[in-house]
Symmetry: C2
Subunit: 208 residues, 2 copies
């Protein structure tokens, strides 16, 4: 029996392209397709699916969230993330949420088939291009987002540890008012308006 592949992508062109490419292979069958997260879940219950090709940019829900959901409800299905660009943060989040691999859309038919066979063996498959992978992560910590000062990073770290302004002040031997200033500057620099968003952003940008 051939490998049952399910495709989730909101671009019809991509779906058609994948259908054609994969349809030419004898050991692979396209079990079905969906254009949104909403459509996907019911369809997965009806079809037997081995591998799911999942676009990261979906209209309703982010592919990352959908990935987590599918992986939870259908642990047997191997998930291969697809995206136009290979952004490091997306990749690691996809992997962290149960994906077994990552494909860029420019991948060849052979590469896609190879990826499908690879993940079915229980291995991870990653297809990556230099430029998009190396620059962002290097640039991310330095340029893009406003540079934080040494002190701000210290305060940020302690905030993340769950300390209050007073506790932080005690640890750094400064006034709580100063800690508050740093905290405000952090919120302003990172463009968020409370601690929760601050921590999330900081972790997303590898500041913690």
């Amino acid at each position: 029996m051939s490998i049952q592949v399910f495709i989730v992508d909101d671009h019809p062109m991509v779906v058609a392209g994948l259908r054609t490419l994969l349809g030419q292979l004898e050991d692979i069958t396209v079990a079905g397709t969906a254009g949104s997260a909403f459509e996907t879940m019911p369809l997965l219950k009806k079809h037997t699916v081995d591998v799911l090709l999942l676009d990261i940019n979906l209209p309703d829900v982010s592919g990352i969230d959908l990935c987590k959901k599918i992986h939870r409800e259908f642990p047997g299905i191997k998930i291969l993330g697809i995206s136009t660009f290979s952004e490091r943060s997306y990749i690691s989040r996809m992997i962290g949420n149960g994906a077994s691999g990552y494909l860029i859309k420019s991948a060849s038919a052979e590469e896609i088939a190879g990826a499908i066979r690879t993940v079915l063996q229980g291995k991870l498959y990653l297809s990556l291009e230099m430029e998009h992978v190396l620059q962002p992560s290097a640039a991310l910590t330095a340029g893009v987002l406003p540079a934080l000062t040494k002190r701000e990073k210290e305060v940020l770290q302690l905030i993340a540890e769950g300390f209050t302004n007073n506790q932080i002040a005690a640890q750094l031997f400064i006034s709580p008012l100063t800690v508050d200033s740093h905290r405000k500057n952090l919120l302003m620099k990172l463009g968020v308006n409370n601690t929760a968003a601050l921590i999330r952003l900081a972790i997303a940008h590898h500041l913690l």
Copy 2:
């Protein structure tokens, strides 16, 4: 000129083994080794290093933290994580912190050399075994840490987005008081006492 490799591992046996294996290869030179995070940083300033093999389990600092630090201070160095087991959560965190790949210690010399050459091309390299990769991530979301209810996860998600209780209440069509209850339950269940720690813990456990 050959590829300069630096090894960081607290097990002398592993270091020696890697040295021997890599030393046999003509295009690879072991530029140096370190047994702890503490030793590593100064040595990296003295040697020109292309690829760094980094053990995840170090005595002083976690390899994941060290990975972040090295990647920030020496963006040019490709980092390959090494560990006995291929735990999904570690892998994605390593990748997220700038690592270019992941090796299990049982890898053959060829595999290690292949990994080094792969990451030097700017690609990711992953070596994984089925069993250790598939089970953990499924178990992680269910067993280990106190199970959160559906509603609690929704609230947690929205808290992380930076919304206040009132905003969350509006989105979920419930009372702000209810949101507050969920919030309190989250803090209690996860054993933290403020939002910052909550978000950090949630991300660490892949709840977000």
